[in-house]
């Protein structure tokens, strides 16, 4: 991303450092090789990417990882501890917990993804508008953003759910509303710094309309930090979605979803520990992996 910016400002700054020039002429094969070296040198990142890949595979093609039926009850096998036949054990109806967790990842991850996309879209739009238009519009938008920060995310989500009703899509929108504020702020500060750059001034001088300048020049140059923020938000969104599902505002049983599975297992806490422990561990692994990958995208990112 940094290179694209450099290329677009290259006209104004012909004296780019020599190392960047060399990087620009690297072939795809070179890049693949250095990416591979990077992965071998950072086993933590490799592991995190692997975990995310498995989670994604589980969401897209659950039958590949768990061919069984997540709803198939087998009363004879009820409440069995994790073992050879059932790696995560079975629940009170004898359903295989591993199969249910794998089939639950589609809902959990798509809700988290929808939340991030919603927050990113609305937040970027607000930030873009405020930063580009300025004046009263900017002041008003930024006050709204201040307020969104003043209310704890989960309470904001709960207020949205009260208004919208229950269900996975509503939970996703409610969670996404929580990340509008930070996206809007970053987008705005990016736009403010790009707005006065040479590219934009050249485009304005060349007679481009405001909308064209906004979409063709300001938006692409501002996107990188916002996308990094979105990656950072993904882990938090998985957590928030599963929390709201755990509270019972997402899918209704028997549909498998990570938070809902933990809530179902709660009644058997004293007798069948695996029913709560296993889905929770999967959430922890996914969130850890997502956060790790996001942080390595941007060494400057602040953990929060």
């Amino acid at each position: 991303m940094a290179e694209t910016v450099l290329v677009s400002t290259g006209l104004a700054e012909p004296a780019a450092p020599a190392t960047t020039d060399r990087e620009q002429v690297r072939t795809i094969g070179d890049r693949a090789r250095s990416a591979l070296v990077e992965l071998i040198r950072r086993p933590g990142l490799t592991l995190a990417l692997l975990v995310l890949a498995v989670a994604l595979l589980a969401a897209l093609a659950p039958s590949l990882l768990a061919p069984g039926d997540p709803y198939a009850a087998a009363p004879a096998d009820r409440l069995q501890a994790p073992g050879a036949g059932h790696p995560f054990g079975t629940d009170q109806l004898g359903r295989d917990l591993y199969t249910r967790v794998v089939h639950g990842s589609a809902l959990s991850l798509s809700a988290a993804g929808l939340a991030v996309v919603f927050g990113l879209a609305v937040g970027s739009l607000l930030g873009l508008l405020g930063g580009f238009v300025g004046g009263l519009v900017d002041a008003a938008l930024m006050r709204v953003v201040d307020v969104l920060l003043a209310v704890p995310g989960i309470l904001l989500s709960l207020a949205m759910i009260t208004a919208l009703g229950f269900g996975t899509v509503n939970v996703a929108i409610a969670v996404g509303a929580g990340s509008i504020a930070s996206c809007a702020r970053i987008m705005r500060s990016q736009v403010l710094s790009v707005r006065t750059s040479d590219v934009v001034e050249a485009a304005v001088a060349g007679g481009a309309t405001r909308l064209r300048v906004l979409l063709r020049h300001v938006l692409p140059a501002s996107a990188a930090p916002v996308l990094v923020l979105a990656a950072l938000d993904l882990g938090g969104a998985v957590l928030a979605v599963s929390s709201l599902s755990f509270l019972g505002f997402g899918v209704q049983p028997p549909t498998p979803e990570w938070g809902a599975l933990v809530a179902e297992g709660r009644d058997y806490l004293s007798s069948a520990w695996w029913l709560t422990a296993m889905p929770g561990l999967v959430v922890v692994a996914t969130v850890l992996a997502a956060n790790h990958v996001a942080r390595s995208l941007d060494p400057e990112a602040r953990p929060s």
């Binding site: 709204v144 201040d146 520990w273 422990a277 929060s304």
Partner: protein
């Protein structure tokens, strides 16, 4: 100083008003008929349209939205948060009843989180034992990734069922406080440790640390007296967010431990779509946030004398010296 105080106070009132307005807009202006859904979970109910209308009139929902808004706002100024749809009691009384229970676990959790987080960060940056430092820097990301509801259930599993040390539920005695407080403390500690780690690392690179070392101060003294004092400033500016985080965490924690409190009240209100109670909880949380930030802004000049100087200079010269005010730092720290 008076100017600084007045500006902060005005800002606090403004944020509170805006929080109320945004929440009102979300709750009242979004599609969905609260009364219809209140009386039947899926919109269906046995009431005649006339009866529905009577309920609407009783809560003033038949009037135009701006009128309802002004009415509610006037009530808020008087300290009246409306009446619950569900049991018809004033929302203020409902909140006042459960607030002490939540404050107990939130206060204990926050204290525990601050102490643990600060200890982890200080030891992680101070130690020369490589594996210990690596372990302590790896802990906060883990703490952030663990869902509170799951952590609470695992603690229950271990300390109430496997080893019966603490009671599994309820509000009786100090023993019932421990597990909920620990559950709230873990994410708080992780946040504090991450922020403080960053603050300490950048403070240790500052020239005054070099100076202190050159004057012969010991390693521990430099770490605690010089670096910690300055490195903790960014963490202090985020106290409001942290208190808000603990209040939000109470929603999940109180559900897990079946404790009466603000969080459980909220969950019940959302489940029964009791709009006035939800609005009341959000306004209360925003008030806490605003008050904590106000307190930070007032204490801050004592910790960092540059703040008042910056405000004074700005008043005369309109320079760009306000970068050290807590709100400016907060803005920087919440970016991401």
């Amino acid at each position: 100083m008076a100017r600084y105080l007045a500006a902060r106070l005005l800002q606090a009132v403004g944020v509170l008003w805006a929080a109320f307005t945004v929440t009102f807009a979300v709750l009242y202006a979004l599609p969905g008929d609260a009364v219809a859904m209140l009386l039947g979970p899926n919109g269906e109910n046995d009431l005649t349209p006339e009866q529905l209308q009577a309920v609407r009139e009783q809560h003033g929902l038949d009037r135009p939205l701006p009128e309802q808004y002004l009415d509610r706002l006037a009530g808020l100024v008087r300290g009246d948060l409306g009446t619950s749809y569900v049991d018809g009691r004033p929302v203020r009384d409902l909140l006042a009843e459960v607030l002490p229970h939540t404050l107990q676990i939130a206060g204990l959790g926050l204290l525990l989180g601050l102490l643990t987080g600060a200890t982890v960060a200080v030891v992680a940056t101070w130690t020369r034992v490589a594996w210990l430092g690596r372990l302590l820097t790896a802990l906060p990301p883990l703490g952030v990734a663990v869902p509170s509801f799951w952590l609470g259930l695992m603690l229950l599993q271990l300390f109430s069922f496997a080893l019966p040390v603490f009671p599994a539920m309820g509000n009786q005695g100090w023993r019932s406080l421990v597990l909920p407080a620990v559950t709230l403390a873990v994410p708080a500690a992780a946040t504090v440790a991450q922020l403080l780690n960053k603050g300490l690392e950048s403070a240790l690179r500052q020239p005054y640390v070099e100076t202190a070392r050159a004057k012969g101060a010991g390693r521990t003294r430099v770490h605690l007296r010089h670096a910690l004092r300055n490195g903790s400033l960014p963490t202090v500016t985020l106290a409001g967010l942290m208190v808000g985080g603990v209040l939000g965490g109470a929603v999940v924690t109180e559900t897990v431990f079946s404790r009466a409190g603000l969080g459980r009240l909220t969950v019940a209100a959302v489940a029964s779509r009791d709009v006035p109670t939800v609005l009341g909880v959000v306004v209360l949380a925003a008030t806490v946030y605003v008050l904590v930030n106000l307190a930070v802004d007032l204490v801050y000049p004592l910790l960092d004398p540059r703040v008042v100087g910056a405000v004074r200079r700005r008043a005369t010269a309109r320079g760009d010296a306000s970068a050290f005010t807590p709100s400016a730092l907060r803005e920087g720290a919440t970016h991401g």
